[in-house]
C-alpha cells in the first residue's frame, strides 16, 4: 500500500529574501540569453541591486513578526527564519549589494575587473578579439546572486542535507568567479582551480560527517540530532568523528587554521571585487552555520568539542597574525589577516556564552564592511604604464608608497578600514573585538581573550606597515642633517622592518572610474565610523536575537 502523498504547506512570506535573490539569479540567466549585448550590463546590474536591496527590505519587514513570534520553521525545518537568520541575511544582502557596486565599476576605458571572454585561453587570438570588440562577461551578476542565495540559506537551515546543498550553491559560483579576472589571468585560473579542488575536498569531508552523524543519531535535522546527543547509546565515537568532519568543512569555508591554505592564493588571484565579497559574505554565512551547529545541534557535545574549537581558534589567531606580518602583497596581507579575523570571530563562538552569537554577528558586520571597502580601494589602485594606459592592480606594498599623500580621500578611507581591522577605538572593528572578547571572558574562556588581545597587538603592526608605506614613503627625503651615526635608535625593541619602495618602472595611481566603487567605499567608511561611535542601536537589535529557534 502506497502512503498517500501529502502536499506540504509552504509559508512563502519568510522565504522572500531567498526567493528574491535566487529568483533574480534565474531571471538573470535568462536575460543573458535573450537580451541584446548592449543592454545586458545595465539590466543585470539593476536587477542585482534590486534583488539584494529587495532582500534587505524583506528582512526589515520580517523583523517585527519574527521578534514577536520567535521565528518560523519553514518547509519542515529546511529553513529556520529566526533572529540570527534575519541578521545574517540582512548582512549578506548588504555586503552583496556593496559588492555588486564594486563589481560594476569600470575604468574610463570601460574595463571592469573581469575577463572579456573567460573561455578564451589567456594570450590567445580569441582573447584579443574579445578585447577588441569590448566584450563583457555579464554572467558574473547572476553568478554572484546564486552564491548570495546559497549563503542566505547556508546558515539558516535546520537540517544537514539542505545545508550541504546550500554549501554547494554558494561555492560553485565562487569557484567560477575566482577564475574570471581580467588581468593576471593565469594566476586567477590557478586560484580558481585551487579553490575548487580544496573546496570539493572540504565538501566531501562535510558530507561524510553528515553521514556519520546520521548513523549515530538517526536524524539529519538539527532538532533530532540535538535531542539524540545527550543520550548517545554506544555510538559516541561515531558522533564525535562526524561532528569533527562536519566542522572541518565549515572551518574550511571561513578559512580557519589549519584549513586556511587556500586563502592567500585565492584571495590574491581572484578578481578583487570577488575577493572582497568572498571574504566578507561567505564568512557571515559560514559562521552562522558554525554557530547553529555548535550552539544548537551539538550543544550537548560542547565539552567534547572544546579541545577542537580552542585549538582552531588559537591557531587561527596566531598563524594568521604572524603570516600577515611578513606579507608584501596587500591582497595576501589581507588574506592572512582574514585568517586571523576568523580566529577572533571563533573566540566569540568558542566562548559558549549567551553573548557569543550576538558578538559574532556584530564582529562579522564590522569586518565585512571593512573588507568590502578595503578590497574596493585595492581594485582602484592601478599601475599606469609609460604610455599612460591603466593596467593591472598595484598590489605590492612598495607600490603603495606615498599613495595616501597623493590621494588623500581614498587614502584616508583605506586607513580607516585598516584601523577597523586593527580594532582601534571609534571604529566598528573595536566594538566587535570588545564584544567577542567580552563574551570570552564572560564564558570563562579568558585565555582566548588574552591571546586575542596579544594577537591584535601584533596584527596591528601589519596594518601599520601599510599606513607607513602610504603616508611616510622612503623616497621622500628632506635635508639629511647628518646625524645618522650619532643618535641611532636606542634599541631594536620594536623590530621594525619597513618596506622599502622599489624604483618605480610604472607609476601607480588611483584610477578614475564610473564611481560605483567609490559609492561602496563611502558607504562602508561611513558605516564603519557610525558603528564605531554609536553602535548602540545595532548592538541592541542584535542582542535581542541571541536565541536560536530549534
Amino acid at each position: 500500500m502506497i502512503p498517500e502523498f501529502v502536499t506540504p504547506t509552504v509559508e512563502w512570506a519568510p522565504l522572500t529574501p531567498v526567493l528574491f535573490v535566487l529568483g533574480a539569479a534565474v531571471v538573470g540567466v535568462l536575460l543573458e540569453a535573450f537580451l541584446p549585448a548592449g543592454l545586458r550590463r545595465p539590466v543585470q546590474i539593476g536587477l542585482s541591486l534590486l534583488a539584494t536591496g529587495g532582500a534587505l527590505i524583506a528582512v526589515a519587514v520580517l523583523w517585527g513578526p519574527v521578534m514577536d513570534t520567535g521565528g518560523y520553521d519553514v518547509l519542515g525545518g529546511s529553513l529556520i527564519v529566526d533572529g540570527p537568520t534575519l541578521v545574517a541575511q540582512g548582512l549578506i544582502a548588504l555586503l552583496a549589494m556593496l559588492s555588486v557596486l564594486v563589481m560594476a565599476d569600470r575604468t574610463a576605458a570601460k574595463e571592469d575587473a573581469f575577463a572579456p571572454m573567460v573561455s578564451a585561453s589567456p594570450g590567445s587570438d580569441y582573447e584579443r578579439l574579445a578585447l577588441r570588440r569590448g566584450m563583457q562577461q555579464t554572467e558574473v551578476y547572476p553568478l554572484l546572486l546564486f552564491a548570495t542565495g546559497g549563503m542566505l540559506i547556508f546558515g539558516s537551515t535546520g537540517d544537514l542535507l539542505t545545508m550541504f546543498v546550500a554549501l554547494e550553491v554558494l561555492s560553485l559560483p565562487l569557484y567560477l568567479l575566482a577564475g574570471m579576472a581580467r588581468r593576471r589571468r593565469l594566476q586567477s585560473q590557478e586560484a580558481s582551480l585551487k579553490y575548487f579542488l580544496l573546496g570539493a575536498f572540504a565538501s566531501a569531508l562535510f558530507i561524510f560527517g553528515v553521514a556519520l552523524i546520521y548513523g549515530a543519531t538517526g536524524s539529519i535535522s538539527f532538532s533530532g540530532i540535538a535531542a539524540a546527543v545527550p543520550t548517545p547509546t554506544g555510538t559516541e565515537p561515531l558522533l564525535l568523528a562526524g561532528a569533527v568532519l562536519l566542522l572541518t568543512g565549515l572551518f574550511f569555508k571561513v578559512g580557519a587554521v589549519p584549513f586556511h591554505l587556500w586563502a592567500p592564493d585565492v584571495y590574491q588571484g581572484a578578481p578583487t571585487p570577488i575577493t572582497g565579497f568572498m571574504a566578507a559574505a561567505t564568512k557571515v554565512a559560514a559562521f552562522l552555520a558554525i554557530l547553529r551547529v555548535v550552539y544548537v545541534m551539538l550543544y550537548g557535545l560542547g565539552w567534547e568539542l572544546t579541545a577542537v574549537l580552542w585549538t582552531v581558534t588559537i591557531a587561527s589567531m596566531l598563524v594568521g597574525t604572524v603570516a600577515a606580518l611578513v606579507q608584501n602583497d596587500i591582497k595576501r596581507l589581507l588574506a592572512y589577516s582574514s585568517v586571523a579575523h576568523a580566529g577572533f570571530v571563533l573566540v566569540g563562538v568558542t566562548a559558549l556564552d549567551v553573548r557569543g552569537p550576538s558578538s559574532v554577528l556584530f564582529y562579522l558586520l564590522a569586518y565585512g564592511l571593512a573588507t568590502v571597502g578595503a578590497f574596493a580601494v585595492i581594485s582602484l589602485v592601478r599601475e599606469r604604464s609609460a604610455s599612460g594606459g591603466v593596467t593591472a592592480e598595484a598590489t605590492s606594498l612598495g607600490q603603495w608608497s606615498g599613495l595616501g599623500r597623493e590621494h588623500p580621500v581614498i587614502g584616508a578611507a583605506f586607513v580607516l578600514f585598516l584601523l577597523s581591522f586593527a580594532g582601534i577605538p571609534l571604529t566598528a572593528g573595536f566594538v566587535g573585538k570588545f564584544a567577542v572578547f567580552s563574551a570570552a571572558v564572560s564564558g570563562d574562556a579568558w585565555p582566548l581573550a588574552l591571546i586575542g588581545v596579544l594577537a591584535s597587538a601584533a596584527a596591528a603592526f601589519a596594518y601599520v606597515k601599510v599606513i607607513v608605506a602610504m603616508y611616510f614613503p622612503t623616497t621622500e627625503r628632506t635635508q639629511g642633517d647628518g646625524e645618522e651615526s650619532e643618535a641611532a635608535p636606542t634599541s631594536g625593541a620594536a623590530g621594525t622592518t619597513l618596506v622599502a619602495a622599489p624604483a618605480r618602472t610604472t607609476t601607480v595611481t588611483v584610477v578614475r572610474t564610473e564611481g560605483w566603487a567609490t559609492v561602496a567605499i563611502g558607504v562602508s567608511a561611513i558605516l564603519t565610523v557610525l558603528l564605531g561611535v554609536l553602535p548602540g542601536p545595532v548592538l541592541d537589535a542584535i542582542e535581542q536575537i541571541s536565541l536560536f529557534l530549534l
Binding site: S438, V453, S456, A460, F472, T474, A487, D540
Partner: protein, 522 residues
C-alpha cells in the same frame, strides 16, 4: 549656567575647528588664525568652566554629564572632573595655543599656509579634544576609547612632520606599537573589570567600579593590565625607549604635546584608575613600582647627561621626572600624591616650554646636536634668558612651581620610604648637571666659527642666528609666567589637588603618614 555641558563643549570646539580646517573651503588659507582662535576660545571656555568649579569640594567630580552611550554594553558617555582632572585640562588647553603659535612659521614661509601645516594644525586640534576627554572621562570604557584614539593623531604628527624621513617613520611606528601593545593589554583589563561591574547602565562608571571586592588574584591581573599600559605611556623604565626616538624625530610642538600632556595620561591613569579600582593590588605592587620609579629617576637623569642631541636630552629628563611622579603616587601619602598631581601640571609647563625653545634653536641652526652650538648668549640674549629660566624650572629652582611639587613628592615619599626618597633626591643634583651643562655648552663662552664639516652640512652660522621673534616669545612667556605665579603662590593649585589625593588614599585604604609641609600647602 548650572547645567551647561562645559566639558562636552570643550571637546566639541576643537573638533569643529579641525573639521573646518579639513573641509576644502576658502577658510583653509587662514588655517593658522582659525586654529589659534579655536584653541584660545577653548582656553577661555575652560577658564569659565573652572570658575563654576566648586573648589571646596575638589575631591568630588563636578561639571558632570552622564548619558547612556552603548546601552547593551552598559557603556556611558560620562564626563566630570575632580581637582586633578581640572588642573590637567587647564594645563593642556594652555599648551595647545602656544604650540600652534610655535608652529606659526615652522612649515609655512611667510603668509603662505602649506597643506602640511594645515593638516598638522587640524591634527593638533583633534588631539586637544581627545586629551580633554581623557582627563574628563568618568567611564572606564570611554577613557579607554579616547586613550587609544589619541594615538592616531599623534602617530601622524610624529610620522608626517618630523625631520629625517626613514628614522622618523621608525620612531612613529615604535611609538604606535608600544602604545598599541599597552593599550590592547589594557583592553583585557577593561573587559574584565566591566564584567565585574553592576549589570545594566553605568557598568563602566568609575564610581561603580570603585570598591568592588574582587578576588585578589583577579585584581592583580587587572591591575597589571592597566598598569603596563600606563607605564608605557608615562613612560617608565624599562618601557621608556620609544620616547627619546619619538621626541627626537617629531617637530618640537608635537614633542611638547606628547611629553607635556599625552604622557601625563599614563600617570593620571595610575592615579585615578589603578589606585581606586585596584586598591589591594596597588599596595601589593607598590614596592616594585617604587623601585622602578627610583630607577627611572636616576637612570633617566644619567642618560640625559650623556646625550649629544638636545631633543633626546629633554626626553630623558622627562623619564627622570616621570619617575618622581610615579614615586609620589605609589608612596601613598597625601603629601606625595598631591605633590605628584601638581608635578604633572608643572612638568607639562616646564617641559613644554623646554621643547619649544629647543625647537626654536634647532630650527635656526639646522641641527639638534649640542656640539653644533656655543656662545649663543651673546647672539640671542632673549633666547638665552628664557632658556635659563625654563632650564632652572626643570631642575626645580625655588621660586618656580616645579620646586613646590618636587619638594612635596620627596617629603611625602620620605615619610613612608626614606631610602627611596633619598636615592630619588640625587635626581635633583643630576638635574642640575644636565641642565646647567647643557646651558653652558649651548649659550656660554665665545661664539665658535663653523668647522669645515659643519659648513658642509649646510648649518646656519652661529653668529648670524636671529634672536626670538615676537610670536616665539609669546609662545613661551605664558608658560614661564604661570610657573612663576604658581611658584610663589601654589595654594590655588594645591587646594585643588590635595582633597582628591586624600580621597584616593581612602580608596586605597592606607593610613596617611603626616608630614610637616603645612607651611608649603597653605
Amino acid at each position: 549656567m548650572e547645567n551647561f555641558p562645559w566639558l562636552t563643549t570643550l571637546m566639541v570646539l576643537p573638533l569643529l575647528g579641525a573639521t573646518v580646517l579639513w573641509l576644502p573651503t576658502s577658510l583653509r588659507a587662514r588655517a593658522r588664525e582659525i586654529a589659534l582662535g579655536v584653541s584660545v576660545l577653548v582656553l577661555v571656555v575652560a577658564g569659565l568652566a573652572a570658575l563654576s568649579f566648586d573648589t571646596s569640594a575638589a575631591s568630588t567630580h563636578q561639571l558632570t554629564e552622564t548619558y547612556s552611550w552603548i546601552g547593551s554594553l552598559g557603556v556611558s558617555y560620562a564626563l566630570g572632573v575632580d581637582g586633578v582632572g581640572l588642573v590637567l585640562i587647564l594645563m593642556s588647553v594652555l599648551l595647545v595655543p602656544l604650540v600652534i603659535l610655535a608652529a606659526w612659521r615652522e612649515q609655512g614661509s611667510g603668509t603662505h599656509v602649506t597643506d602640511n601645516l594645515r593638516r598638522y594644525l587640524a591634527l593638533a586640534l583633534v588631539l586637544e579634544a581627545f586629551m580633554i576627554g581623557v582627563f574628563a572621562a568618568r567611564d572606564v570604557f570611554m577613557f579607554y576609547v579616547l586613550f587609544e584614539a589619541m594615538l592616531i593623531p599623534v602617530y601622524f604628527m610624529i610620522g608626517g612632520y618630523g625631520k629625517d624621513s626613514s628614522r622618523r617613520r621608525h620612531a612613529a611606528v615604535k611609538f604606535l606599537l608600544y602604545s598599541l601593545f599597552g593599550g590592547l593589554i589594557m583592553l583585557f583589563g577593561v573587559i574584565g573589570i566591566g564584567l565585574n561591574g553592576p549589570d545594566g547602565p553605568g557598568r563602566f562608571l568609575t564610581e561603580n567600579l570603585t570598591g568592588l571586592a574582587l578576588d585578589p588574584v583577579t585584581e592583580r591581573w587587572f591591575f597589571l593590565s592597566f598598569f603596563i599600559a600606563f607605564a608605557i605611556k608615562a613612560p617608565m623604565f624599562p618601557v621608556h625607549t620609544w620616547l627619546p626616538d619619538a621626541a627626537e624625530q617629531a617637530p618640537a610642538g608635537t614633542s611638547a604635546l606628547l611629553v607635556g600632556v599625552l604622557d601625563k595620561v599614563g600617570t593620571f591613569g595610575m592615579l585615578t584608575l589603578c589606585l581606586p579600582l585596584f586598591p589591594n593590588a596597588s599596595q601589593w605592587a607598590a614596592p616594585v613600582i617604587i623601585v622602578l620609579a627610583v630607577i627611572s629617576v636616576v637612570y633617566g637623569a644619567l642618560l640625559a647627561i650623556g646625550q649629544k642631541n638636545m631633543y633626546r636630552l629633554v626626553a630623558y629628563t622627562s623619564v627622570s621626572h616621570f619617575g618622581f611622579i610615579v614615586l609620589g603616587i605609589f608612596a601613598f601619602t597625601s603629601t606625595s600624591v598631591a605633590g605628584s598631581s601638581f608635578y604633572m601640571v608643572n612638568h607639562g609647563l616646564s617641559t613644554g616650554a623646554l621643547f619649544l625653545l629647543v625647537g626654536f634653536l634647532v630650527a635656526r641652526r639646522g641641527s639638534a646636536r649640542i656640539a653644533d652650538f656655543g656662545g649663543l648668549q651673546k647672539v640671542a640674549p632673549v633666547m638665552a634668558g628664557l632658556f635659563l629660566v625654563v632650564g632652572l624650572s626643570a631642575l626645580s629652582l625655588p621660586g618656580l612651581s616645579t620646586f613646590v611639587s618636587e619638594f612635596l613628592v620627596l617629603v611625602g615619599s620620605f615619610a613612608r620610604h626614606p631610602a627611596a626618597a633619598i636615592v630619588a633626591a640625587s635626581g635633583v643634583v643630576l638635574a642640575a648637571i644636565y641642565i646647567l651643562w647643557l646651558y653652558q655648552r649651548v649659550f656660554t663662552g665665545g661664539v665658535p666659527a663653523d668647522t669645515e664639516e659643519q659648513t658642509r652640512r649646510g648649518l646656519v652660522a652661529l653668529s648670524s642666528l636671529p634672536d626670538l621673534r615676537g610670536i616665539e616669545r609669546w609662545a613661551v612667556a605664558p608658560l614661564i609666567g604661570v610657573m612663576l605665579v604658581l611658584g610663589f603662590w601654589p595654594s590655588p593649585a594645591l587646594t585643588l589637588v590635595r582633597p582628591p589625593a586624600e580621597q584616593t588614599l581612602q580608596h586605597v585604604g592606607v593610613e596617611d603618614v603626616p608630614t610637616r609641609t603645612a607651611e608649603v600647602d597653605q
